[in-house]
């Protein structure tokens, strides 16, 4: 691979920033609402499933490279129902090391030098280095706030149709969308997805749809798969995550679903990168999916119950933040919340580092208030930094005690 690309990618690696903030927040006295993973336990049957799988001899040895048979069959069942179409477990599914691994396999398989890839800001930070590692050029388009609106919900952020259209050209290989979106929590509406689909079809472009938070959808909203829109199945790779679905980010399993003529190239990448994913973990996820498939549509289904549990936490955190004088952006989905800190009027001009306001704010907040968040300009390209530098991101898939601890800090803050 071209070393030039890798060096450039290194410069853009936001994970370095994540690592920096992680170590800042590693101080146990800091209440950590920064990192995006649960501190609540996964459902017990999922852990039990792993223990059971690990006790079977065969489950400790290699399984099928493109996905453990019982897992791809369970995925075919669950998603067949969701998509309303038959999904071939062996040809239209690839199991990967997390959603991350799916993104990587997709980029390496389908993107190369000379291609352009459209990325919507704010974006999950790995998209840019992955596009660059594949030798292609990222083209950015920001979500914009509806004029005249105080930021109240993630639905107030939209894509300008003319602006989006202007980003497509003959070099555009793909557009990456993330719905529900990290960090804003926006869920793209059918109309918005149709607009994107129309452009993909017009310009003969692929769509990589990162839907790892697909089940975390709050009341009044619906997650729609762009791959189900007319003409889109054949040009879309949809990415999901067991880690986000079952609150087991440390299992690092995900999957890509798409038509055979695209999926087969992802499979080629898989067989030349890590060949196969861990067997007992795949077996346990398969069991978890089978269990919840039976419960789909019922309140006990984890796909629904987790969202309900998180909605309560979402609302609690929003209240806490409002009482502290901040302006939360209520997310329609996902487990992050953006917060506008403008109204706090915090003067950080004495900090002379050449960093965006949100970086300075978060570092100050960790040090002075012992509360950790993530700066949102970490998720945008250079040109959009000014637009987002008054926002920080909180993660609310945390124990109530963690949220209350944050609440105490914020309550005292409002008083001072």
């Amino acid at each position: 691979m071209s070393w030039k690309n890798v060096e450039y990618a290194v410069k853009l690696i936001v994970q370095v920033i994540m690592v920096a903030f992680t170590s800042l927040a590693a101080d146990p006295s800091v209440v950590n609402l920064g990192q995006g993973f649960p501190d609540i336990p996964p459902p017990s049957y999922i852990k039990e499933g792993l223990a059971k799988a690990a006790s079977e001899d065969r489950m400790n040895q290699y399984t099928r490279g493109f996905g453990h048979p019982s897992l791809v069959k369970a995925l075919s069942q669950v998603y067949g129902k969701v998509y309303g179409r038959q999904i071939d477990p062996f040809k239209e599914i690839l199991v990967t090391v997390g959603g991350y691994g799916s993104l990587f396999s997709t980029m390496q398989a389908l993107v190369e030098e000379g291609d352009e890839v459209i990325i919507i800001e704010p974006f999950f930070d790995c998209y840019v280095p992955m596009v660059r590692m594949a030798g292609a050029k990222p083209v950015f388009i920001p979500l914009r706030l509806k004029p005249g609106k105080k930021t109240i919900t993630s639905a107030d952020w939209f894509l300008d149709p003319d602006e989006l259209s202007s980003k497509f050209n003959s070099k555009t290989k793909a557009i990456i969308i993330n719905t529900p979106n990290n960090p804003i929590g926006k869920i793209f509406t059918r109309d918005e997805l149709q607009m994107i689909a129309d452009l993909c079809i017009k310009h003969d472009t692929l769509c990589f749809s990162d839907e790892v938070y697909e089940w975390l959808v709050y009341k009044g909203h619906q997650h729609i798969k762009i791959a189900t829109l007319p003409g889109m199945w054949d040009r879309t790779i949809t990415i999901s995550s067991a880690g986000k679905t079952f609150s087991v980010t440390g299992w690092k399993l995900g999957w890509s679903i798409g038509p055979e003529h695209l999926t087969k190239h992802l499979q080629t990448v898989m067989q030349n990168t890590l060949y196969t994913c861990a067997t007992p973990l795949q077996e346990a996820v398969a069991q978890g999916l089978v269990l919840n498939y039976e419960l789909m549509g019922q309140p006990e289904c984890y796909f629904t119950s987790l969202a309900e549990e998180l909605e309560v936490k979402r609302d609690r955190l929003a209240t806490i933040l409002q009482e502290a004088g901040m302006t939360p952006v209520i997310p329609e989905g996902g487990y992050f919340m953006l917060v506008d800190v403008t109204s706090l009027n915090l003067d950080l001009s004495h900090i002379t580092d050449d960093e965006a306001y949100d970086y300075k704010f978060v570092k100050w907040m960790i040090k002075e208030k012992k509360l950790a968040a993530i700066p949102v300009t970490a998720f945008v390209g250079d040109e959009s930094k000014k637009q987002f530098e008054k926002y920080i991101r909180f993660c609310f898939i945390k124990q109530d005690s963690t949220l209350e601890a944050a609440g105490n800090i914020l309550k005292n803050w409002a008083k001072s």
Binding site: A9, I40, N60, Q61, G98, L110
Partner: protein, 445 residues
Amino acid sequence: MGVIKNLAASLIVIRQSSFRNNHKIIMSRRLHARRTDGVDKNVWVEFTQLAADYKAVNLGQGFPDFSPPQFIQDAFCKAISGGPQMHQYTRGFGHPPLVKNLAKFFSRIVGHDIDPLEDILVTVGAYQALFCAFQALVDEGDEVIIVEPFFDCYQPMVVMAGGKAVYVPLRPREGSTVLSSGDWILSAEELASKITSRTKAIVINTPNNPLGKVYKTEELQMIADLCIRHNLLCISDEVYEWLTYDGAKHVKIASLPGMWERTVTIGSAGKTFSATGWKVGWVISSGHLIKHMKTIHQNSIYHCATAAQEAVAHGFEREYEMFGNPESYFKQLPAMLHHKRKKLALCLQSMGLQPIMPEGGYFMITDISSVKVNLNDQSNTDEPFDFRFVKWLIKEKGLATIPVSAFYSPEHRKEFDKYIRFCFVKEDSTLDAAEDILRKWSQQE
């Protein structure tokens, strides 16, 4: 450029339409990246499927069909029922307890103070370690010398990184009957002749898959001398490092003078603890090389599964305490496999076949040129003889093996198409079942 692009696009359309019968052409442009060209065939995908389809007695793919040792299974169970952090992300470059234990364990062996955070990267199996190594260290136009026979993934990984593979074969010693993997040697002159100004690295695998050769110190020294003289990197795949037989000793090339800073050593928990399905591997090297592999890892996979790493960490802690003792799994496993290796060899010899006794590893190759058989396959006479033979053996006799020419470069495949590879890391009952099949077959002749 535009003309060629359009022409290529049209050709793709024509090809696609002939493949897709009545399907509408949805996309008229070329879809897949060029880096996936020519690396889409895979011997494991093909033969694993075949073995499964025919429910063959499987001495093909290299994995144990017995369980991992109790202590490692217990460690995994303990990790699974551990605190919530066991099921969430851990440190991307390697779970802290694991890298600490790997550093402690291997520092003692390599004779170098290994920094757990700088000199180690944990990966999804040794496979991903190899991927990170090739992606990080091989640039467009670099040449990489691969010693044949080689684990098949090295070649497509070099190609995917934009490099060029240059091959040098191990050859059976002149004059003697070739009875052991130790009789296959690397010619120093032949190896030196392959080095050019574009050579970046040499890849060795010891103990070797499929041959079972365990490189001696003098052989490694010869390779080391060339690496130092020509400023080459050495990628040393040592996944079978604990599996040596008949007094053969595994030597780490990284421990030779001048080699630590230019060697990338790859290991596997799957092969170490007989748990190939856990997919935990690692690279150990000097920090200045590891840092580039970290970049690749961070932008492709980023994290490996936490609980499995925790379990492997415990495994290494135990083995550190037990090192050199008879209860050490690193002594017990080779002792157990020693017996199975002998069992398989006797079985093959009684069939009139000539196995090459491996000094190490999971596998035994055997010469099948004396076998008279009508392969009856009208299909594919283009395929090397051993491929066709192995397919016939699966379909007609229900016994799965792997054709050895899969481990050779396209240019040398025809020279080495009369060997098949058996994996003997199997329950005795599996080896017995294989023996039955072979005995019945020889009785039919």
